[in-house]
């Protein structure tokens, strides 16, 4: 039953991942929303919300400028909830592992984007031959992106579910619990500094005017 829940959660994550970079960007793929959504499905909405908002605040330190692929908050929050619900029953360890997972997935996203560069030449050839299949390529992007994120969420969660059976992760709980309790203060300080820099920047003669 737990495995089925992990698979369905992964599929939900895969679908919502499309909002992240393929269609709309309506903020439904933000970590807090996904944390509550996946958490509700797995019986831990409160924990999902807590881990989701902290992941969102940490990742808001990154700006997706130009070609930079930021850490994936949706992947991180989905995995955090699944690790909490099905592997550790401890928020702090699930949270720190999920932070790493979100960063790791951004490397996969970069790889997919690099691979898509090869499509340009093929598409140009098709256009020259009067074969306009742009809808096909858009659909292919959707399927590849959705499938890769869903697979990553499911595999990552299953690996840790198996590991949790053989390893005693409880030993590290006091450490991660303490570190986790300090995270809100760090992220709020980071945000205050960020906004303060923006405000001061706009006041200076070289600022936004």
């Amino acid at each position: 039953m737990e495995i089925i829940r992990i698979i369905i959660s992964g599929l939900i994550g895969g679908i919502f991942h499309l909002d992240n970079g393929q269609f709309g960007q309506f903020f439904l793929s933000r970590p807090t929303f996904m944390g509550v959504l996946i958490g509700s499905f797995n019986g831990c909405p409160v924990e999902g919300a807590i881990m989701g908002i902290l992941i969102e605040l940490i990742y808001s330190d990154f700006l997706p400028l130009g070609g930079v692929v930021p850490p994936n908050g949706l992947i991180a929050s989905s995995i955090a909830v699944l690790l909490y619900a099905h592997s550790f029953q401890n928020m702090s360890l699930a949270f720190f592992i999920a932070i790493f997972a979100g960063v790791f997935y951004s490397k996969i996203e970069s790889f997919l984007r690099r691979k898509r560069s090869l499509w340009n030449a093929i598409m140009e050839e098709e256009i020259q031959d009067n074969r306009f299949k742009i809808n096909y390529w858009i659909a292919k992007t959707f399927i590849v992106e959705s499938a890769s994120s869903a697979t990553f969420i499911i595999l990552f969660s299953l690996i840790f579910k198996i590991l949790a059976k053989f390893c005693n992760f409880r030993v590290v709980f006091p450490i991660t619990d303490l570190a986790f309790s300090l995270v809100p203060w760090i992220v709020l300080t980071a945000l205050i500094l960020k906004f303060r820099r923006q405000v001061v920047g706009c006041k200076s003669p070289k600022g936004c005017k």
């Binding site: 970079g21 393929q22 269609f23 709309g24 960007q25 903020f27 807090t32 929303f33 509550v36 509700s40 909405p45 409160v46 999902g48 919300a49 807590i50 908002i53 969102e56 605040l57 700006l63 997706p64 130009g66 070609g67 928020m91 720190f96 932070i99 970069s110 984007r113 690099r114 898509r116 560069s117 499509w119 340009n120 140009e124 256009i127 306009f132 742009i134 809808n135 390529w137 858009i138 959707f142 991660t176 303490l178 570190a179 309790s181 300090l182 995270v183 809100p184 760090i186 992220v187 709020l188 300080t189 980071a190 945000l191 205050i192 906004f195 923006q198 405000v199 706009c202 936004c208 005017k209």
Partner: protein, 285 residues
Amino acid sequence: MDRKLRLKIFLRSLFLQSGWNFERFQNIGLCFTLLPHLKKIWPDSTRFKKAFLRHFGIFNTHPYMAGFIIGNICSMEKKISSAKSTEEEEKFIKSSVNIKSALASSFASIGDRIFWGRLTPIASMLCLIVWAIAGFYGWFLNYGEPEASIYILFAGPVSGAILITCVSLYVRWEGLKCGYECGGEKLCGLDMFSWPKIISRLSWIGLISTVSIFIFSLVLASIYYYKNFGIEGLIFKAILVIAAIGIFLIFRRLKKSIFLVLATVIVFSIVVVFISQIEGIALIL
């Protein structure tokens, strides 16, 4: 541009980021967006092909601000299609390419500052404010078993999503209209709003909301620790929080990533947990 075609292009512009690649960035999404307009103004297949390939090159801008550039391209393409001579057509094509790339980078910069740099963290703050009003403080007081109704939990992120979505849809829709109306002008859309003023105001809103949330959380956490662990517990926790913020400030000054800060906080926690298990010191703590 008639309303039906504008709506079509607007809906297609939601797919702008699909097919994003490192070689030409949003070129696939842009061509997908422009398709109905190009088909309409270039009935001849050879010329349509040429126009399509013209926009299949490098294109990268902020997805929410793309409406301004897409509207501009549509207007320029119409001008190109109604050119009276080949020279005039080439002149229009050249200026269309130049204006497109200049506007794309200008709007990317504005969009990054407004949406990614300010509105996104403000949406997170809005979520925390909604939760605070509804009485859910679990995100910083996560001891025991924090409780909240599912509606309250969803209300936080949904309010942020509504804020960003309303603003972004408005900018996308109006940008398309504005871009089409002033198509071909170098400053097209850049003077539609006072962008620096908006950016400055958003920075202030962000700063005020974040500082308010910080102070509110600090006061509430202090009361909680004092009530549950006494003055010693409060002082011990305050020292830990100050140390963690100190670690962050040092790393920020050194321009290091927040992940390095988190890793150092974990190492710091190992030390604290280890020390607190030593007999004698544990009693003091």
